[in-house]
Symmetry: C2
Amino acid sequence: MPEDSTDKPNIVTCTAPVNIAVIKYWGKRDEELILPINSSLSVTLHQDQLKTTTTVATSRSFQEDRIWLNGKEEDITHPRLQSCLREIRRLARKRRNDGDPGLDLNGLSHRVHICSVNNFPTAAGLASSAAGFACLVYTLARVFGVEGELSGIARQGSGSACRSMYGGFVQWIMGKKDDGKDSLAQQVEPETHWPELRILVLVASAERKPVGSTSGMQTSVQTSCLLKHRAESVIPGRMVGMIEAVRRKDFTAFAELTMKDSNQFHATCLDTYPPIFYLSSVSQQIISLVHRYNRHYGETRVAYTFDAGPNAVIFTLQQHVPEFVQVVQHFFPPDTNGGQFVKGLPVNPATLSEDLEQAIGLEPMPKGISYIISTKAGPGPCVVKDPTQHLLGSDETVKSCESRSGEFQSSAEELVR
Amino acid sequence: MPEDSTDKPNIVTCTAPVNIAVIKYWGKRDEELILPINSSLSVTLHQDQLKTTTTVATSRSFQEDRIWLNGKEEDITHPRLQSCLREIRRLARKRRNDGDPGLDLNGLSHRVHICSVNNFPTAAGLASSAAGFACLVYTLARVFGVEGELSGIARQGSGSACRSMYGGFVQWIMGKKDDGKDSLAQQVEPETHWPELRILVLVASAERKPVGSTSGMQTSVQTSCLLKHRAESVIPGRMVGMIEAVRRKDFTAFAELTMKDSNQFHATCLDTYPPIFYLSSVSQQIISLVHRYNRHYGETRVAYTFDAGPNAVIFTLQQHVPEFVQVVQHFFPPDTNGGQFVKGLPVNPATLSEDLEQAIGLEPMPKGISYIISTKAGPGPCVVKDPTQHLLGSDETVKSCESRSGEFQSSAEELVR
């Protein structure tokens, strides 16, 4: 079959969201295919605050596949990148062979240039690989004219990336098959389902670089007997309870399961040998603060969850955001010379009652939290229609990507300020 | 049967040791009888460094049972004290009724005065209740002429006290019976079994008062599903492995199981809701230091274990003590104005190689550790023969106890300096 002979590159730009798990994924049963030892559930964060943008260009003039991440060229031969490229091309070939009329015949034999940037500083410590791989797979699929289920491919880039393929509340069903065909993400409820739910990312000042999650979870699977028990006997019931809590918008049930599951995940890290600590003294203080805050009101108004790092992600309802932000600001007094403490969705000022301050009664930790990103649940990956937003130009591709991504990144960092 | 009518008090003084669990006890299946949800195993620390001394006097002139702890009168009606007194008196009555010729007939209807002091500062954060109740029960038994199995009574004062009834390496077999008759301590090996084993108590500067162990373990039993799994499915195998390691003096096996079990205990605390944190940033640093030290040598030379507080108890072999103490002193530089950094068994000076220092490569934490108590495995409770050592005089009992215990305590604090 003859290839289209035009030199004009085919360019697509998409964005994809970060997600935060409330039932945690920790541990693979298959390292190659990235098959987890348990199902997990996450909330997709809104891209107005946190997103990855990726442009993919294909052209017959490109000599080789190349990738630039946040303005720096990276090694395209990384096995996980290769998995995603291979799987998308395989699907595209399959569709061509099946004679799909909608298929773009151009790109299939062409090399790709990929340029990807995050609109949040790496210092935020948010798992950028989920948004990154989700965006890569979503964009590649558009370029190669592939449609349908893509979470299984995103999963092979980074496990939790499969959950970033959908908006709202998303479960990653672990599946049973050895080939991983049934290990896929699925939307539980869309982002519009629970409009009162608010999310605050408390960016903690990192004391040290934590153990990476890939090697951390490997060690946990090999050494923690509590992790095995958690995966087999605890999570199945929690998944049912969490889906139920989300569907019914039962904040108390949602919040308590979220906190318990975060704690249990960190417990299995401590049961790992040698033990892994992701919770810093700031994290521990946030945990105490949340429990004391809830106890003061005699109800669960706020929940925390922590991934493989010290940052807290807080869930609460809209009506409690102003006061809780005030509490955080009081017990973690920010650097007065720094920028805005609260970025993202505006938060109204509130006063902190003496009662509440005394009920919490913790020793303030100055500068323990660098800033807060205020956000909510948001949609899944989107195509960017405006061609001026491409991160790769039609000529001088490399240079363009490097300079534009730099531009983009700094304006994007402004975005979350 | 007529009671002896002499007014002369019957006075006995005994000492009892602290023990440190290497397979941890956490959680009761019966709060009243103090029956644990799992078996545990401990090493009895030497009384030359750490002990409780208790004098019990009985006299027909005493109007009521009274107790002084560390120079201060305490409430004798405390249920756990009452359990011990009641059980010892019950055994004594039983022996009298059985017509035992060795029985001291004096005390049975007499009231007791109890005076108990620790030779270690409370600030050391060592579980003093184990030594305290072991000493109380052992001394009461001598006063009332009761012999034989006493660990079941000590257990009803404080669970881990039953293990302080023996020297060396001691298991507390959880038992199966509802009445607790088979929940007893048993010596695995005597203190002479493993003379090369050394113990260092690293007294960490406490950041805050931790959750008490009684309420902590209650909450854990009620809320942690990992604790249940640990008790039922993990500990039985670990008990077998630990007894085997102790018998064979296999330091590597002993050390690794000790560290894993400490970590798992703290993991279950984190899985408790709300979570409990006993490990401070200093504790976490000690854990990192030990693993890096061992990794540097490619063998497990040092092990840590932590109870319900931030202090580390370190196990190592005699030959490694000088260097390891030097390492601790380097990475936790002590207050130069303070007293001796190492108390107890003398430790030879050592130099720290640059290689080792770099391999550990942690940021030093000045004053993170207040001091080290250097000790080893030691014997169980002993009777003090020298009558000048009684903490209660034959007259002016109360006053004498209060002043003498003060005296004793300060000289005892010298002891561990």
